[in-house]
Symmetry: C2
């Protein structure tokens, strides 16, 4: 089966809109993050080599290396969400006639739910990192492409808030409450102040236009 | 040349990240809006036909028709941004040796700049409409897919704020100040309260999880 990232944007949007259960919001969240990282890379690529920005050349090189690495991570998460959703559907579809089957099914569901909580949490973390990278692009990037740093921060922020929703859903179904609470606490740390930070970076960009 | 929407997501992200001037933030803004509309359509498609949601069946059908139409509009805007950027680069590249050439070049730049202001303004309007549609999906959609309405609102909000940056940039270069001020005033109306509304819809979704 063709991976989502290798499908055209039109087909991705058609499949997202359709009644097929995947791709859904989890993949969309990862794409929002990947798009943010790509835009930060664009700002770097259009700043590096410009005599006017020679002073920040090394920092832009380092930033580019981070944003490209993060883009690979987030692009892979588009697929990870689909995979874990399929596993979850398979677990819910297990036989539940005998008591033994019921127990096995429930255990399998809970095992996959842990993964289905961790994956969007990882996506939220990566999107938060994309916000940090967009800030450096907004701070030091070429003024000719500074608006792209503003689009980068908004895209990452949307990805973060979107991924958070999938953590909430799956954590709510977990029977292992200490694990669920731990994951929700990790998410709360990631989310804390993200709205203010995103708005600050956006205003920084707007003031430079 | 292949339209962006017909390229794979991987290639789109690679080109976005590259030093090529297009695609850039304007296309990314349109994609954010198109993704939002697609997610609202997904909520509709997974609510329609479900006996539990028979009461909202007709409203979901109407919402789906609106979100699919908006998705077409926003998908087309991915290309519109690239096209107007190319026209702008061509205008800046016109000869400017003689006084006559200078005047002709300046006039052409100003003509294209009007278009380059209107196009992201249209994108901002369409993204604001996508926020409104996501609200209805969040209000009435199946609880099984309600988180997708939350991703829809965040994606549209990011698209709106991103498109706004491109209006600011191009309006700033316009010599026709009354036209520029009119467009900025239109944008201000669209933006007014959008942050609060987006957060309200997000919280509505979160409270339903």
């Amino acid at each position: 089966m063709t991976e989502i990232k290798d499908k055209s944007i039109q087909i991705y949007l058609d499949e997202l809109a359709s009644k097929a259960p995947t791709p859904g919001g989890g993949s969309a969240a990862a794409l929002l993050g990947a798009q943010s990282a790509a835009l930060t890379s664009m700002v770097c690529n259009l700043t590096i080599g410009k005599p006017k920005y020679a002073e920040v050349e090394t920092e832009m090189q380092v930033l580019l290396s981070k944003s490209e690495s993060l883009r690979v991570t987030l692009t892979a998460m588009i697929k990870a969400d689909v995979d874990v959703f399929s596993q979850l559907m398979a677990a819910y579809g297990l036989a539940k006639e005998s008591d033994q089957e019921k127990v096995a099914r429930s255990q399998q569901i809970q095992t996959v739910l842990r993964e289905a909580t961790q994956i969007p949490l990882n996506c939220a973390k990566a999107c938060a990192e994309a916000i940090v990278l967009s800030q450096e692009a907004a701070d030091k990037g070429s003024l000719n492409v500074i608006s792209d740093a503003g689009v980068a921060v908004m895209s990452a922020y949307a990805g973060l808030k979107s991924a958070a929703l999938n953590v909430y859903i799956n954590a709510a179904s977990l029977k292992d409450r200490p694990f669920a609470e731990e994951k929700l606490a990790e998410l709360a740390v990631i989310l804390k102040g993200a709205d203010i930070k995103a708005e600050e970076i956006y205003q920084l960009v707007k003031n430079k236009l």
